[in-house]
């Protein structure tokens, strides 16, 4: 605000002078804002009376940080950015040949992902690697897979789905119920869960065929809630909000088991020391394989008529129809395919946790998955993977920041701030890259001889 107030009348002032004044404005505004929020806090004492706790020290720190931050921003950051902009405008536009990392981004990423658990085991030992493989590796990859699945519906077909977590839930409960009651193996139930989720995808698809944009978003949101409420209230089958526990583990393709009590426990078969890490590492590679499957299918589908029809549908439904595309089946296949991958991820989730309850399938999950897709850049697999890494990895890292307790006192729990960080990251990314990390769409059709076309032609405008 201070910037808009003062920028008109002091073109003559040097940046430092202006920065000083603006810093004072910012400090005054933040003092006014935060005096009640931070400076005073209501609390209860032992006799249950409401008392005022005064936190002038903390208030001073926050106001000081805002003042100094504004000063530095206006005095140094803004002129530096303007200089860079001027340099860029002056220099002839050079279309930089993409560097080695960027050209081979997918290959490098895949290799790193495959080597990751080995590196963790080497670095921390089997027991020490548990946290890194499970909390970071598997957790992030589940979201990568979910986001890639949702990407088919939202990114490719352009159907805004706010209830994607419903399919995740269908997959998880399909495995949990069929696995615990009938003792079927994961390898049978994985495709079954995918098929069941796809079926629900079609069921959702039918009534919303004629809807688009915000109307569609509302109906899908409601659908997600309906599934969750059914899970809570249909106690006879789903055991309500208590959830289902004792879900069987995944076996090593039926050859080896990860239960210590089984005769074919992996450590007994291979004559190695017992460790819980084997299972986690196995799960890591399993979800990695599922992710690769999702990516492979997405990439292949984009080159097939149905995938091209999805993308065309996102652009212009009427044009699609007049070109002879059956928009009904096109939409339904998009819902079904996206839902299927959600179902796969769900059954994996159930197997990994050993426990499912409706708690895991709240709207917030849908929102996070959608946020990852949007941040990554709709339709871009690489961008989405990076977004999942940043968002989910970032929130996991918050758990590790115990040293912050030394700064903010022992009551401070960094995990509670994860949504704040999530929001901040989204605002920042959307300011700098309004189309997500990877905003441009990769074309899928070429003439036989591929012509070199200057990148400036193929770039998209912001819109």
């Amino acid at each position: 605000m201070a910037a808009t107030v003062s920028s008109e009348r002091d073109d003559v002032a040097t940046p430092v002078q202006r920065a000083f004044r603006e810093a004072l404005y910012a400090g005054a505004i933040s003092l006014g804002l935060f005096v009640l929020f931070i400076g005073l806090r209501t609390d209860q004492n032992i006799s249950n009376e409401l008392i005022l706790v005064k936190r002038w020290g903390l208030l001073a720190i926050v106001v000081g940080a805002v003042t100094v931050g504004r000063f530095l921003y206006v005095a140094y950051a803004v002129p530096a950015m303007e200089r860079r902009k001027a340099e860029k405008a002056g220099a002839p536009a050079i279309v930089a040949e993409p560097g080695f990392v960027r050209r081979n981004f997918n290959k490098i990423g895949a290799t790193l992902l495959i080597l990751y658990p080995i590196a963790m085991v080497l670095a921390f030992g089997f027991q020490g690697s548990l946290k890194w493989v499970d909390n970071f590796g598997i957790q992030i990859l589940i979201y990568v897979m979910l986001a890639w699945g949702l990407n088919i519906v939202v990114g490719l077909a352009g159907l805004l789905d706010l209830g994607y977590v419903a399919f995740y839930a269908v997959g998880a409960y399909a495995y949990a119920l069929l696995g615990t009651h009938f003792g079927l193996s994961f390898w049978i139930l994985l495709p079954a869960a995918g098929a069941m989720a796809a079926f629900w995808g079609v069921l959702l698809g039918f009534p919303v065929l004629r809807l688009r944009g915000d109307y569609l978003a509302i109906v899908t949101l409601a659908f997600g809630e309906i599934i969750r409420l059914v899970l809570i209230n249909w106690r006879e089958v789903t055991n309500g909000s208590a959830g289902i526990s004792g879900i069987p583990k995944v076996s090593f393709f039926g050859l080896m088991s990860f239960n210590v009590s089984d005769p074919n426990y992996i450590a007994k078969v291979l004559h190695i020391a017992q460790s819980g890490a084997y299972y986690k590492i196995f799960l890591y590679y399993l979800i990695l394989a599922l992710c690769f499957l999702t990516a492979f299918v997405t990439i292949r589908l984009r080159r097939l008529p149905v995938g091209r029809a999805w993308e065309a549908l996102r652009e212009d439904e009427i044009a699609c129809r007049s070109l002879g595309i059956n928009t009904t089946t096109t939409k339904l296949t998009a819902f079904a395919t996206g839902a299927m991958f959600g179902g796969f991820a769900g059954s994996f989730f159930a197997a990994r946790q050993g426990f499912v309850s409706p708690e895991s399938f709240v709207f917030l999950e849908s929102a996070i998955i959608l946020a990852i897709v949007v941040l990554g850049g709709m339709g871009s697999l690489g961008g989405i993977a990076v977004a999942a890494l940043v968002m989910i990895g970032g929130t996991e890292i918050l758990r590790e920041l115990d040293f912050l307790k030394a700064v903010f006192g022992p009551d401070f729990t960094p995990e509670l701030y994860r949504m704040l960080l999530f929001g901040m990251a989204m605002v920042i990314v959307m300011l700098w890259k309004p189309r997500g990390f990877v905003g441009s769409r990769e074309p899928t059709a070429f003439l036989k001889e591929r012509r070199a076309v200057s990148a400036s032609f193929t770039k998209e405008g912001h819109g």
């Binding site: 008529p305 091209r308 029809a309 993308e311 065309a312 652009e315 212009d316 009427i318 044009a319 699609c320 129809r321 007049s322 070109l323 002879g324 595309i325 059956n326 928009t327 769409r441 074309p443 899928t444 059709a445 070429f446 003439l447 036989k448 012509r451 076309v453 032609f457 193929t458 998209e460 405008g461």
Partner: protein, 242 residues
């Protein structure tokens, strides 16, 4: 070839809600002809174009294409009978490249002829070949119109519907596009039904023409007759054209 009726529109009435947009329209398009439908804004020209495609659907009357009653067919099935359209406002896919747009036009069945058909489109509109990897949305208006027609041609249509191909284009580009349509008709015998506000250009191009006023066809005749007709001249031609 000429003479057999390819598209026969009989007594078609179309409504938007309760508002009647077409008032019992009769139009015939014969094999190998170029037929122009001219009229003022809001006369119902584009509505007729869309009604052929079943969106909106005709409430009364019949539309027959090559002997098949298509009045109640779903839009995509009508398109599969090889009626192709370059719709009003072009409606190309802006985020897709020129090449991908053309591919969408061919998505019906046969990718067998794909390379051949692409070359044909590029021969007709060399400009598109220069823009091959560019995104549709970054093309100029004229190029977008060429792309829209090219995309329609990729389906190897028996009948090409053009909704205001000259809309918002410079006269030179309009001439190019009309020349291309004439060329398609002469060289390949393609039947064309076009809707235009540019009455002079359209009637000069067309074998026959219809004039539409407030949802009714009020006049019809050969292009030359209509061009010479004093009423048509007064309503659509005086003041501006050449």
């Amino acid at each position: 070839m000429a003479g057999t009726t390819l598209l026969d529109i009989k007594g078609v009435e179309t409504y938007y809600g309760n508002i009647r947009a077409l008032n019992g329209v009769n139009v015939q398009v014969n094999q190998g002809e170029i037929v122009a439908l001219i009229g003022a804004n809001g006369a119902g020209k584009s509505t007729l174009m869309m009604t052929i495609f079943g969106a909106p659907r005709a409430r009364a009357g019949t539309i027959t294409f090559a002997g098949t009653d298509i009045t109640q067919l779903p839009t995509h099935e009508i398109a599969r009978l090889r009626i192709a359209q370059s719709p009003e406002g072009r409606r190309i896919f802006p985020r897709m490249t020129v090449m991908e747009n053309l591919q969408m036009g061919a998505s019906l069945d046969n990718l067998k002829h794909y390379d051949e058909d692409v070359e044909k489109v590029f021969a007709l509109f060399p400009r598109l070949k220069e823009r091959i990897a560019q995104r549709g949305g970054t093309l100029s208006g004229g190029e977008q119109q060429m792309l829209s027609i090219g995309r329609a041609l990729m389906a190897r249509p028996k009948l090409l519907l053009l909704d205001e191909p000259s809309l918002g284009l410079a006269p030179l580009i309009v001439k190019q596009i009309f020349d291309a349509i004439r060329e398609l008709n002469k060289a390949q015998g393609l039947t064309v039904f076009l809707v235009e506000q540019n009455a002079f250009g359209a009637l000069k191009l067309a074998n026959r023409g219809y004039v539409m006023v407030n949802g009714n066809v009020t006049m019809s005749g050969t292009g030359k007759e209509l061009l010479a007709n004093p009423e048509v001249r007064a309503a659509y031609l005086e003041g501006g054209h050449h």
